[in-house]
């Protein structure tokens, strides 16, 4: 399940552009790899992120995993619902399980992200 309209990072985050902002979450492949997510910690609104910086962590099966921002910019919104219902990341990774919204600082970074086709190829190769 790789939605065609989104962009993807090698570290399995998805990005949806909305004007000058992007919505960021983790992919279905990533949530499946992590297993049942029981806690999510997200950044404060206003935090400046650099591309590939850790913006939060998620715990699944006694493992805390860092989450990475595919773009640089300022956090303008977080999904507080996943803090209370972390299972949404497993159930609806591309919709209700979104994590943060970032005002992009460098639009050029988006062109370095993968298309759905390229990402699908990456995960198919990775799981062989």
């Amino acid at each position: 399940m790789v939605p065609k309209e989104l962009k993807y990072s090698k570290s399995h985050e998805w990005v949806k552009q909305e004007g000058n902002n992007v919505v960021i979450g983790i992919t279905d492949y990533a949530q499946e790899e992590l297993g049942d997510i029981v806690f999510v910690e997200l950044p404060k609104i206003g935090r400046q992120l650099k591309q590939q910086e850790s913006f939060g962590v998620a715990e699944s099966v006694k493992a805390v995993s860092d989450l990475f921002s595919p773009v640089s910019g300022k956090v303008v919104a977080i999904n507080e619902t996943v803090g209370k219902q972390p299972e949404l990341v497993n159930k609806e990774p591309y919709t209700g399980g979104w994590m943060i919204k970032v005002e992009i600082a460098a639009a050029g970074e988006l062109t370095g992200l993968m298309s759905a086709e390229a990402y699908e190829k990456l995960i198919n190769e990775g799981s062989k």
């Binding site: 297993g35 910690e41 099966v61 493992a63 805390v64 995993s65 860092d66 799981s127």
Partner: protein, 270 residues
Amino acid sequence: MTLKPANGANKRIWRLLVDGPQDGAWNMAVDEVLLQQRKAGAGISTLRLYSWQKRTVTLGYFQRIDKALAGFCGQNNIDLIRRPTGGGFVLHDQELTFSLVFNRQDLRARAQHQAVEYFRVIATCLQKALLSLGVPVSLEENVFSGKDNNFFCFNNPTKYDLLVDGKKVCGSAQRRYRDTILQQGSLILRTPGDPAFWQKATGLEEVLQQKISWPEICAALQKSFTAELRLNFIPGALTEAELIMARQLAAVKYTQASWNYQGYYQGEHA
């Protein structure tokens, strides 16, 4: 430290660190520094074996402080430290504690897509080491969700924990940063006299009904990991840079109430 395999052999080189008893803040700081260095490409994969200067409770990264637990620690002069890894709280007393820091490439041949598989690979090494010591240990198959925020690690066996007759003898938790993994684990030697903590746990010496020495366990672990993961251990020490980083991290993080006593939602990323 630059180490290359001798004669182009297939085996990977890992560092073996055997530490004496240390305080809790230092123990957690060292483990986090090993992770930071490995993920930055400056360190090598490491198996560290250590223990505790005094009884210490460590909390999982996301656990809230339970008033009863904080009171118990205060009344009994037990330190309370938050780990960088997940899971439930652990009372470190008479145990051998281990940490493994490695890149997932190091285990690629054995571990598949699901991240929990890394627990299985490590658990298999631990199991074979304990079997070689005569401990009839098996791996837990069921998953405990960990959604209860105040759970005690040794009362809640989960998948790939090590059990003897249904009682947990070894538990682990992880921190993952991209492809680099820190796994911390506790191997119980003797369960102390607090029955409330140890209803579902046991220790190696209770199972074997005899004392077991640290060198004996260390040798068994080294042998098992060497064979199972096809690697070579080089006995080593922390580098000067790692020592400096660990001192700093212990001072600014693991001795601070802002880290150890925080609610989980005001964590590292707030």
